[in-house]
């Protein structure tokens, strides 16, 4: 049935980052996931399709990210009177999106976590130093007590993601309570990020081949924000 699953293509994760870093988790590399990525990578894909299919991946990524949150034992009674030993969710969460592409992941986050609080952070490259610089941030007041799902679709060099984590830590969020979620990552970016913040869990959908000389992910999908917002 899924004979095509195993005959994976050149873009498979292990091919580009082997072994996987201890803090990095990917989605199960199934045929249906690869078909999703094929659609959003295709430059001919319409904006409507790009929205629908990227939302599906984002939902799966958020679901995977939530699995890294702690749970507690919880016993409930079913409508038929039976007793069921299950688990209950523990700990408050909030999302933080790195503007502007990260905003595109908020809808997917809210579909999985109803009315979750979402902070924002704007990081841009400083023209003088060529280093990422914080321009704006707005977080929930009690962010230090929450688990943070940090959202940015593409992890290229990892510069802005590391800056964002730095800002979160400044606001009192412990490193191990940050879960960074992205659609496509470069091996270089993952190594840089892990080198600086080994405690932050990284959930990525696909690890690509690398970066080109303009620091674009290869093969990637182009500029996520541009394709999403048509700018």
């Amino acid at each position: 049935m899924n004979c095509t699953t195993t005959a994976s293509t050149t873009t498979s994760n292990s091919a580009h980052l082997n072994p996987l870093l201890p803090s990095v988790f990917t989605l199960p590399q199934t045929a249906q996931l690869e078909a999703l990525y094929t659609i959003i990578r295709d430059k001919e894909t319409s904006r409507g399709d790009f929205l629908f299919y990227s939302d599906r991946i984002i939902r799966l990524l958020v679901e995977e990210g939530l699995n890294h949150l702690p749970v507690v034992k919880r016993t409930v009674e079913t409508p038929t009177g039976a007793i069921y030993d299950g688990v209950g969710f523990k700990g408050k969460i909030c999302g933080v999106s790195i503007l502007r592409a990260g905003e595109a992941m908020e809808a997917g986050l809210r579909e999985v976590c109803r009315s979750v609080r979402i902070g924002k952070i704007l990081i841009q490259r400083d023209e003088e130093t060529a280093m990422p610089k914080l321009f704006y941030s707005k977080f929930p007041q009690d962010i230090a007590d929450r688990y943070v799902l940090l959202l940015d679709p593409m992890l290229a060099t990892g510069g802005s993601a590391m800056k964002a984590v730095e800002v979160l830590i400044e606001h009192g969020v412990p490193e191990e309570r940050i879960i960074f979620i992205n659609l496509i990552a470069s091996p270089e970016g993952l190594k840089n990020f892990y080198g600086k913040y080994p405690q932050v869990k990284v959930i990525t959908g696909w690890i690509d081949q690398g970066l080109n000389n303009k620091a674009f992910i290869i093969p990637g999908l182009g500029d996520f924000g541009e394709r999403r917002y048509c700018t």
């Binding site: 049935m1 899924n2 095509t4 699953t5 293509t9 050149t10 873009t11 199934t30 045929a31 249906q32 690869e34 078909a35 990525y37 094929t38 990578r41 295709d42 430059k43 001919e44 399709d49 629908f52 299919y53 599906r56 939902r59 799966l60 679901e63 939530l66 699995n67 949150l69 749970v71 919880r74 409930v76 009674e77 079913t78 409508p79 038929t80 039976a82 007793i83 069921y84 299950g86 688990v87 209950g88 969710f89 579909e111 999985v112 109803r114 080109n212 674009f216 992910i217 290869i218 093969p219 990637g220 999908l221 182009g222 500029d223 394709r227």
Partner: protein, 545 residues
């Protein structure tokens, strides 16, 4: 009394008919008589003339297949022939009326099978000079093929003939699921292929003068035609045809019914049909697939408890989030709004997981960065969903989130409160299942909240197979499967159907459902049901009510 037809369009119930449902196929078909092509532009009158092609439903269709999933009986087919205006339609309708509560009856009119006309024939037809009373005017092979499909419980898409345009139209009319089929028309006993399909052959015998008298009155009063025009046509086409082709076929009939004062004859026919149906029903009731009858705790015949692997179930990975979602859904204290939210979330995960059962083929694309990628692409021509109402509808939002822009049909299957038999009440399937050549290529996601006794799953899978959908193209998506329930019987009958579930529960037991108000139980008296444990309660009620 006003109900919806299977096509979703409203209709009026004629006062003289007291069936639960009454469905005209098309306005054109309903206003026709043999050999009397109406002039173009002539208006039809739905209320003066009887419907010819009709589908009648009463209380639902019980299983027509055995424990092994194989069909155990054909539909009962009656052929009714006789001269034009001899009263065939009346006989057919009286039979249906007198049979009372039989599941589904289709009256199939020969009129639908007039051949496609060439431009020359069309000109003749509009000049009232084409012989519609000759056997060659009828597409007999197609008539026989459609009837054979319906008899074998398959779907059929019968042609639609327009009497105002004197032409077969591009559209077809979808028919499925009849227990009794009545094929009526002047030539319905003419073709040996057709005759071979009938379980009962009826010829309506009527004196020529009586038929002519009825014809004159009808055509003058209802169609505004002149007596001389009617007589001209009668002498040229109708009378020779009757003498040469129609009357001789009476020798093939099992029963010859008079064309008037025939109440006794109809009662005799009905007694015969009832006895035939009863015999069949008795014969297959023992074999009928009501899976809970085979459950081990019912008769003490121990069936081994199969593991999910042995049952070939695709179970959603039990991540912490999935466990947490199930805990919320199983808890009786969960608020409705939370129940709905988490059902939608779980359904999305389930459908995403079930997509592994679709085929994918290599596909090369170029990214905006200008790099080639060897990826994969869905390799299925038709994909659609079918929700089993009511509780299967709870999976529909998740389905729409995961699969873009595909049609979703529905089936309504309820269990009879007395016999616990599943009854098929309503079938509305997407186009890619209604047509057999498409159904053979279609992948169908069948959605129901749980597989307990398996009776509903069993029937819905059988309906898809009847339509020509391949077993391994059916992906059954459900929240819960009861290990001790009908799943084992279902698996034996349909080993290749993909079953994707959120969790496998251990126990099936008989329970008591309180205040369940339905058509069968208007007072809401409690009734016995099979419940799963731990289960999620009545998922449909919790999601919708």
């Amino acid at each position: 009394m006003r109900r919806e037809t299977t096509q979703g369009t409203p209709f009026l119930l004629p006062q003289n008919v007291n069936f639960t449902r009454f469905i005209p196929t098309s306005p054109d078909l309903s206003t026709t008589t043999y050999g009397v092509p109406r002039a173009a532009g002539q208006t039809s009158n739905l209320f003066l003339q009887p419907q010819k092609n009709t589908v009648l439903h009463s209380h639902g269709r019980p299983p027509w297949y055995g424990e092994d999933g194989v069909r155990i009986c054909d539909a009962f087919v009656i052929g009714v022939a006789g001269g034009s205006a001899s009263g065939k339609t009346h006989v057919a309708r009286q039979i249906v009326k007198s049979l009372g509560s039989i599941p589904t009856v289709i009256i199939l009119s020969q009129d639908s099978f007039y051949k496609f006309h060439t431009p020359e024939e069309l000109a003749l037809a509009h000049a009232n000079k084409l012989d519609f009373d000759h056997p060659d005017a009828i597409d007999m092979p197609m008539f026989a093929a459609c009837l054979a499909d319906l008899k074998a419980c398959k779907q059929s898409n019968i042609p639609v003939y327009s009497f105002s345009e004197h032409q077969r139209l591009n559209e077809t009319k979808y028919l499925y699921g009849a227990t009794v089929i009545i094929a009526e028309g002047i030539m319905s006993l003419h073709d040996p292929e057709l005759r071979a399909l009938y379980d009962l052959k009826v010829f309506v015998q009527c004196d020529s003068d009586l038929m002519l008298a009825r014809r004159i009155r009808r055509d003058v009063e209802e169609r505004g035609r002149t007596v001389s025009g009617i007589l001209d046509q009668y002498l040229r086409f109708v009378k020779p045809s009757y003498d040469n082709f129609v009357q001789p076929t009476s020798s093939h009939a099992d029963i010859i019914v008079p064309g008037h004062n025939n109440a006794v004859a109809i009662e005799l026919i009905c007694t015969h049909i009832r006895r035939q149906l009863q015999e069949r029903s008795n014969r297959f009731r023992q074999k009928m697939a009501i899976p809970h009858l085979y459950l081990s705790n019912q008769f003490g015949s121990p069936r081994p408890d199969y593991t999910p692997e042995e049952l070939n179930l695709t179970v959603l990975p039990q991540t912490l989030q999935v466990q947490g979602i199930f805990t919320i859904l199983r808890s009786k204290g969960t608020l409705r709004q939370d129940f709905v939210f988490f059902v939608d979330r779980l359904a999305t995960l389930l459908v995403e997981h079930s997509l592994q059962h679709l085929p994918y083929a290599p596909h090369k694309v170029v990214t905006p960065v200008g790099v080639d990628v060897k990826g994969l692409k869905l390799d299925a021509k038709y994909v659609c969903g079918v929700a089993i109402l009511r509780s299967g509808g709870a999976l529909e939002r998740g389905f729409r989130r995961a699969i873009n822009d595909v049609p979703v049909g529905s089936l309504l299957i309820q269990s009879d409160s007395q016999t616990a038999e599943p009854l098929c009440l309503h079938v509305q399937l997407p186009k890619c299942i209604r047509f057999r050549h498409m159904a053979e290529k279609a992948y169908v996601f069948l959605m129901d909240a749980q597989i307990g006794t398996g009776a509903t799953a069993f029937m819905s899978i059988r309906i898809l197979l009847d339509h020509g959908v391949r077993q391994d193209h059916i992906i059954f998506v459900t929240f819960l499967v009861a290990r001790g329930g009908g799943i084992t019987v279902l698996r034996h009958a349909f080993p290749d159907v993909r079953i994707v579930c959120g969790a496998v529960d251990d126990v099936m037991k008989e329970g008591w459902m309180e205040n369940y108000i339905s058509d069968f139980n208007p007072e809401g008296v409690g009734r016995k049901v099979w419940v799963m444990e731990p289960g999620m309660g009545q998922i449909g009620d919790r999601y919708y009510l």
